[in-house]
């Protein structure tokens, strides 16, 4: 099975984000970047599918769009076990919306004819949760979102031994899950937490040095590369503390609390 995993480089979770001088973007200079968390789970799912598969020709390809620094994250994905990578080079990711990014990815993915495309559910920076779904639409493939687990099952009645169908576990609200079957090729967006992630190893990093990273220029693969989003202004969330102390006897305080939970916060 040929699996493509679309990954994104995002500021490290611990990063102290500051607004750039022009107020339209974040200060990138001293930021540390890391692999988007749910993309890490998408990669793990792909690696496990390849490892579990009996077919020897399984391949995991990672694809990422972004500037030069994205190369670091691509290397890490190769170190964890991906076979090769495609880097869609573009410096204007911020001015492309989810549709724009999906167009870039779709153009790069199409010639590969993958059996499966995995992406993380959403990115930790913008959190739009759209790119994977739009990507499926652009590729004309069926999709499912919020996936915790993917299993390859042999297509019923088919002659060949290569699994052509998928059984996936979706996360629903309130602790409910849904299991559905899909044909391949398909696009799945993966939820965090479905697997245990593997750690990066020294051997993996050394082996990654010899793996192929194909670079594609954004302008070359997508005719429509005009920015569609203009950033007007970025601000940090305003911190405000609004603690209310409920006085009186414990009984009165409890009554006041119930009152507030019922009619102000409306959670009861």
């Amino acid at each position: 099975m040929k699996i493509i995993v679309a990954i994104k480089q995002v500021p490290e979770r611990d990063a102290q984000v500051r607004i750039a001088a022009d107020g339209k973007w974040i200060e990138e200079a001293d930021l540390q970047y890391a692999l988007n968390e749910s993309d890490a789970y998408a990669l793990e799912e792909a690696l496990q599918l390849r490892e579990k598969s009996a077919a020897p020709d399984g391949e995991v390809i990672v694809i990422s769009a972004g500037p030069e620094r994205v190369g670091q994250t691509i290397r890490e994905a190769l170190a964890k076990g991906a076979d090769r990578a495609i880097h869609v080079a573009c410096d204007d990711l911020g001015s492309r919306d989810a549709l724009g990014v999906a167009r870039l990815l779709a153009a790069a993915i199409r010639p590969e004819n993958p059996d499966l495309v995995l992406t993380g559910l959403q990115s930790e920076d913008f959190g739009l949760g759209q790119t994977g779904v739009i990507l499926a639409e652009l590729l004309g493939l069926p999709h499912a979102s919020l996936i915790l687990h993917v299993e390859a099952v042999a297509a019923s009645g088919a002659q060949n031994q290569i699994p052509a169908q998928l059984k996936v576990k979706r996360e629903l609200e309130e602790g409910w899950f849904q299991t559905i079957e899909l044909p391949t090729p398909a696009v799945l967006t993966i939820q965090s937490g479905g697997n245990k992630l593997r750690y990066a190893t020294l051997m993996g990093i050394k082996r990654a040095k010899t793996k192929e990273v194909r670079k594609l220029a954004a302008a070359d693969i997508s005719a429509d590369s005009t920015p569609v989003v203009v950033m007007d202004r970025l601000t940090l969330p305003q911190k405000q503390k609004s603690t209310q102390m409920l006085g009186g006897t414990p009984k009165e305080a409890a009554a006041a609390l119930v009152e507030k939970l019922k009619f102000e916060v409306r959670v009861l």
Binding site: A200, T201, L202
Partner: protein
């Protein structure tokens, strides 16, 4: 006076058949010795070269050789009675080198020590004195091994050792007897019994643990230098001890030098609390691998001959390495095996992977947001390091994120404020990499070390002081592979230096100090924390103290792994500290502190209070 004593009797002449018989037997004995020893030597020499090994500075090597081999200092110090018995056997062997050469030369009429001459007479009597001590010593060791039977010698009796003891005894007895007989027949019989014993003994050496006679002097002399030193990886294809091809010459030499005395096992916190790990068996596992598989093989070292589970139970406390009388460096071997498993991804452990991922993506081993560290710094009003202060106060993961560790930092900050020290904390700090270094994750360790070295250089930090001995060790020794770390010291050393400026508390409180492994054995700092703790009360000692201190169970990254098997190491040690009857347990490491906090909670309400030495001092400062 010496002239009136009897002389050593030697046969005056040998017939040709006698000479031929001796020559044939001697050659057979030498051949049998070399047949085995040559193979062992070959395996050692065909192992990989040790990366980062330097013979210099040679002075310390000569000193170690003199002190540990010639003086038998370590052998005697750690087990005085059997140690002394062993020392007499060893010194007798040294004295007998000349006697034995002469003994063999006599057969061909070319003896060079004249029993009638001044020197010969003197030397033979000197040797006789050693022979007596040796015979007494070996008899004592025989009684210990076969009648007293201490448990760390293993359940199975080593009959080989019995045979060797008998041979040594016969060697000494026949020598001493030769001083008292005069008739030719008896003299000849004694000479032949002595000779045959000698020729039987020689081939037994490489076939048994008595190989340490030959190898341990080399092992002591050729140590890696420093305690528990983790060597650098040789090249891009070196991932630690994965297979036979990764065994280095030092590892192989040490594996063959093991004398199976079991001192390592006796002091091992894992072995003592019913875990699988037995450091002696690890070394013997490597030896068995070398014997059966060899240093050219790709077969994994972990599996048939050593267990991965056991290797990851090591707290890297270094008690084994500290105790070893033949110079085996257990910690680099255990960490080497872990490196082999982790660097190739063969180690799968839920908690371990969680720790690695927390440090791949975040800054601290506890996996907490650094915003929490910022809040703590703000709340404690700790000054930020800006390049103008003398010291950088390194918080470490425990000091920055653990509630108890923060209390220690706060107390130490009070002490420094009282002393008027200029210090500051870094805005950003990553884990020094101690737990991942000891667990064998070289990739992550390098990333953490390099990021920290860069940040410290940018901030122009010259001196670091920290509450954590693990940070001290990692910064000072382990970071060296990736740059030049600033000077670093532990807060016990800092406070002890200014102890004269600090108030003494006449409380009469009894305090037992627990030596952290990474401060004691790793850094050789024993007195400073005691000086500090003594400011607050009267010190008492636990049975296992200083060099023999027993681990809290947290080291080697184990604080971050899952539940222990068997008894908890921390409970074992806490019970010992409680049994001293001290009102207060003084710790000097945030990891020990957190381990004992949990262990003491399990002992009930009567538990003594647990404080870091800085908290003891801060208590006596004016508010």
């Amino acid at each position: 006076m010496i002239a009136i004593l009897p002389t050593l009797a030697e046969p005056q002449s040998f017939s040709l058949p006698e000479k031929l018989l001796f020559a044939v037997l001697a050659l057979a004995s030498l051949y049998s010795f070399w047949n085995r020893f040559g193979k062992i030597l070959n395996k050692i020499l065909h192992s990989k070269k040790d990366a980062g090994f330097h013979l210099f500075p040679i002075g310390t090597r000569i000193w170690d050789f003199f002190w540990e081999v010639l003086c038998q200092a370590k052998v005697v110090r750690e087990r005085p009675l059997p140690g002394l018995a062993h020392a007499f056997v060893f010194w007798a062997f040294c004295a007998f080198a000349l006697v034995t050469l002469n003994h063999c030369a006599v057969a061909f009429g070319i003896g060079f020590l004249n029993p009638e001459g001044q020197f010969g007479r003197l030397y033979f009597y000197l040797a006789a004195a050693f022979a007596f001590a040796c015979a007494a010593g070996i008899l004592g060791l025989f009684i210990r091994r076969f009648l007293v039977r201490p448990q760390w010698l293993g359940e199975q009796l080593s009959y080989q050792s019995g045979v060797i003891a008998l041979l040594i005894f016969v060697l000494m007895a026949t020598y001493m007897a030769a001083l008292f007989v005069t008739d030719n027949a008896s003299v000849r019989i004694l000479w032949w019994v002595h000779t045959l014993t000698l020729l039987t003994f020689l081939p037994l050496i490489p076939h048994s643990k008595h190989l340490h006679l030959v190898l341990s002097p080399a092992t002591v002399f050729l140590s890696r230098g420093g305690f528990a030193q983790i060597p650098p990886l040789a090249d891009d294809e070196d991932f630690g001890l994965v297979a036979g091809t990764d065994l280095t010459q030092l590892v192989s030499l040490q594996a063959y030098a093991c004398v199976e005395c079991g001192r390592c096992t006796e002091h091992c916190p894992a072995a003592d609390t019913g875990k699988l790990l037995n450091p002696k068996e690890i070394i013997l596992g490597v030896r068995a691998y070398l014997n059966n598989v060899g240093p050219a093989s790709d077969q994994p070292l972990l599996g048939e001959y050593n267990s991965q589970e056991a290797v990851f139970q090591c707290t890297t406390c270094g008690a084994c390495e500290f105790q070893c009388p033949v110079g085996i460096e257990h910690v680099p071997i255990l960490v080497g095996l872990r490196r082999g498993a982790v660097n190739t991804g063969a180690w799968e452990d839920e908690q371990g992977a969680k720790l690695f991922l927390a440090l791949e993506r975040g800054s601290n081993a506890l996996g907490i947001s650094p915003a929490e560290r910022d809040k703590f710094i703000e709340k404690q009003a700790l000054p930020i390091f800006d390049g103008t202060q003398e010291y950088c106060l390194w918080l470490g993961c425990m000091g920055g994120y653990d509630p108890k560790g923060r209390e220690i930092v706060a107390a130490f900050a009070r002490v420094m404020n009282f002393l008027g020290t200029s210090y500051g904390v870094m805005r950003k700090e990553k884990c020094t990499g101690d737990p991942v270094r000891r667990l064998g994750n070289d990739l992550l360790f390098q990333q953490l070390a390099e990021a920290n070295l860069e940040a410290l250089a940018q901030n122009k930090v010259k001196k670091i002081v920290t509450i954590c001995p693990h940070c001290v060790r990692t910064i000072q020794e382990d970071w060296k592979q990736y740059g030049t770390p600033p000077a670093v010291e532990h807060h016990s050393e800092f406070i002890a230096r200014f102890a004269y400026k600090l108030p003494t508390q006449s409380t009469g409180e009894s305090i037992v100090f627990h030596d952290p492994c990474y401060l004691g054995r790793y850094r050789n700092v024993y007195e400073e924390p005691r000086t500090v703790a003594a400011l607050a009360g009267n010190l008492v000692e636990a049975p296992r103290n200083k060099e023999r201190s027993f681990c809290c169970g947290a080291g080697g990254g184990l604080a971050f792994l899952g539940e222990e098997k068997g008894e908890r190491v921390s409970h074992n040690r806490a019970a010992e500290l409680v049994a001293t009857g001290a009102q207060t347990i003084a710790a000097a490491c945030p990891f020990c502190n957190t381990m004992f906090r949990d262990a003491l909670a399990a002992t009930g309400d009567s538990a003594p209070q647990l404080l870091d030495i800085s908290q003891l001092v801060a208590r006596g400062l004016p508010r």
